[in-house]
């Protein structure tokens, strides 16, 4: 047994209250180890997206602690240090959105080099070289100079994945990356996600893609009413869940 290392992502007792009393997350914990792929499932409104967005502070947790690759922020933290910590976590975290959110005024390549150049001050030549490598990796070399409006949804999402990989993140967050896609385009995006998992990326994905959950995830976690109902290996969750709520939910989406 080697020395136990810190988990890559650790969230402790995360609460999120919207407005004056909409309690969306109630004390959520998670630990995700390096190289692990975790899929979060749950009915809409269960808080799974909100939780994912709390990890990189797109949604600010009302209480609790987030830790990503040894950068720790407490929800109550204020001031300059907090801003630095948030930026620090975001620099280590890639995120893909349901609506892709590519920058429409930039070509595929420009989208990918934007982060390395603006955020990390990388040299343009070097950024372009790596971006071309990434485009090749997601199979879109020939779309290098196209604007997003000329790409299909699946292609856009693959560029978005390449974009978030450009900064060499430690963790990838996927927020329903295939929900806005036509059914025949889902495969190409899931395929890229699978290869990413195989290459050892730490992944937390909110998705309804059960095929991905079953074949790729190391762990499946079910959320309901703002906290976990149950977690386990895909075999366990899909074949023999402990909780009635899990069974109901799976019956709905299977």
């Amino acid at each position: 047994m080697g020395k136990k290392t810190n988990p890559m992502v650790k969230a402790t007792n995360i609460h999120k209250v919207f407005g004056k009393g909409l309690h969306v997350l109630s004390g959520v914990d998670i630990e995700v180890n390096k190289g692990e792929t975790v899929v979060i499932l749950g009915a809409s409104g269960s808080g799974k997206s909100t939780f994912l967005r709390c990890i990189n502070f797109l949604e600010e947790p009302t209480a609790g602690t987030i830790e990503v690759d040894n950068i720790v922020i407490n929800a109550g933290e204020r001031g300059k240090q907090r801003t630095e910590h948030i930026l620090g976590i975001r620099k280590k975290t890639g995120m893909c959105f349901q609506a892709f959110n590519l920058f429409p005024h930039m070509t595929a390549l420009e989208n990918i080099i934007e982060g390395p150049i603006t955020v990390f001050g990388q040299e343009k030549k070097e950024a372009i070289r790596y971006a071309e490598e990434l485009l090749d990796w997601v199979g879109l070399t020939e779309k290098r100079d196209e604007y997003p409006s000329r790409l299909s949804g699946g292609q856009q999402q693959r560029v978005a994945i390449a974009r978030s990989l450009a900064k060499k993140p430690k963790v990838m967050l996927f927020d329903e990356p295939t929900s806005a896609l036509d059914p025949e385009l889902v495969g190409e995006v899931v395929d890229v996600m699978e290869r990413l998992a195989e290459e050892g990326m730490t992944i937390i994905a909110v998705t309804h893609e059960l095929h991905f959950a079953r074949d790729v995830a190391d762990r499946v976690m079910i959320m309901d009413g703002g906290n976990w109902v149950e977690e386990g290996t895909p075999e366990k969750i899909f074949n023999n869940p402990d909780h009635e709520r899990t069974r109901q939910f799976l019956a709905h989406i299977l």
Binding site: L58, L87, F97, N101, F103, P148, S149, R163, S164
Partner: protein
């Protein structure tokens, strides 16, 4: 992809569809021809009415160079004022969106105050009332400040127009910034960008496309409002026309001439506006 109807056989369009497509195309040609004729008739009518009115064209031609010489001032005032307005409107919009209460309140008051008072009053304020403020300040011991507060006509006019249009354009720019989907901000933030980087690299370049048409509109309006500086005796277009017209009791000729010159200038600007918009539309589908 749109089918090329001139070569329908290539893409297997049936014969009866081809007839209909041809008729649609012919209708389009007829319409644009009729439109051209209408415009032409309208132009002829306008020219004839000028002749019927018995305008003294010789007189107009004689004074044309003198009047046109004033367009330099008009362009100078409008161009400098719109530049000032652009800078103010970006600062103003960021102020209006700011979470800092001091900055936000200043920006909001600026927009409210300037939009709520007539431009005419503002022009006089900069030109006639500002020196009085300078005098008052001098009384409080700021020696030498009155000279700074006494503006010549041209700078006063540029400031008045620039500050006024800046307030209107602040709201245009703010609306443009707010029209950009929240997902763009989120993507930029998730990338690790600071608020400033997000604004500069992601939001503003997209907002500018939304903002350009209304701003061009403001510029065209500004060309005409620049005639207000004539109130302070700047020899720009309309001032010259009015002066000459009054002196020779031929105001009609002069006013019609100056109106046509303004119109021509605005048509020119509109042409450039369309060019810029086309350039800005890159990244849109089908370009």
């Amino acid at each position: 992809m749109t089918a090329d109807i001139n070569q329908p056989e290539k893409i297997g369009i049936p014969k009866e569809a081809r007839t209909i497509l041809k008729r649609i195309e012919a209708d389009k040609t007829i319409y644009s021809r009729k439109l051209m004729i209408s415009f032409f008739v309208l132009a002829v009518l306008m020219v004839t009415s000028l002749i019927v009115l018995g305008l003294d064209f010789k007189f107009m031609l004689k004074w044309l160079p003198f009047i046109i010489a004033g367009s330099g001032y008009t362009f100078l005032v409008a161009f400098l004022a719109i530049s000032l307005a652009c800078v103010l409107s970006v600062i103003g919009a960021l102020g209006r969106l700011s979470r800092n209460p001091v900055i936000n309140s200043i920006a909001t008051t600026y927009v409210s105050l300037i939009r709520g008072t007539p431009l005419l009053v503002q022009v006089y304020m900069w030109y006639l009332a500002l020196p009085q403020i300078g005098k008052a300040l001098e009384g409080y011991g700021f020696t030498g400040i009155q000279a700074w507060f006494t503006l010549p006509a041209l700078p006063a006019g540029i400031l008045a127009l620039g500050v006024c249009y800046g307030a209107y354009m602040t709201e245009t720019v703010r609306a443009g910034i707010q029209s950009i989907n929240i997902g763009q901000t989120e993507a930029a933030k998730a990338m690790g960008m600071t608020g400033f980087q997000t604004m500069k690299r992601v939001i503003f370049p997209q907002a500018i496309r939304v903002i350009i048409p209304p701003v061009s509109n403001e510029f065209i309006a500004m060309i005409k409002d620049s005639s207000l500086v004539s109130l302070m005796g700047v020899w720009e277009l309309s001032y010259r026309a009015i002066k000459v017209g009054r002196r020779h009791f031929q105001s009609l000729e002069m006013l019609i001439m100056v109106a046509l010159i303004y119109w021509a200038m605005c048509i020119l600007l509109q042409y450039f506006q369309e060019k810029i918009e086309k350039h800005m539309a890159r990244g849109d589908r089908g370009i």
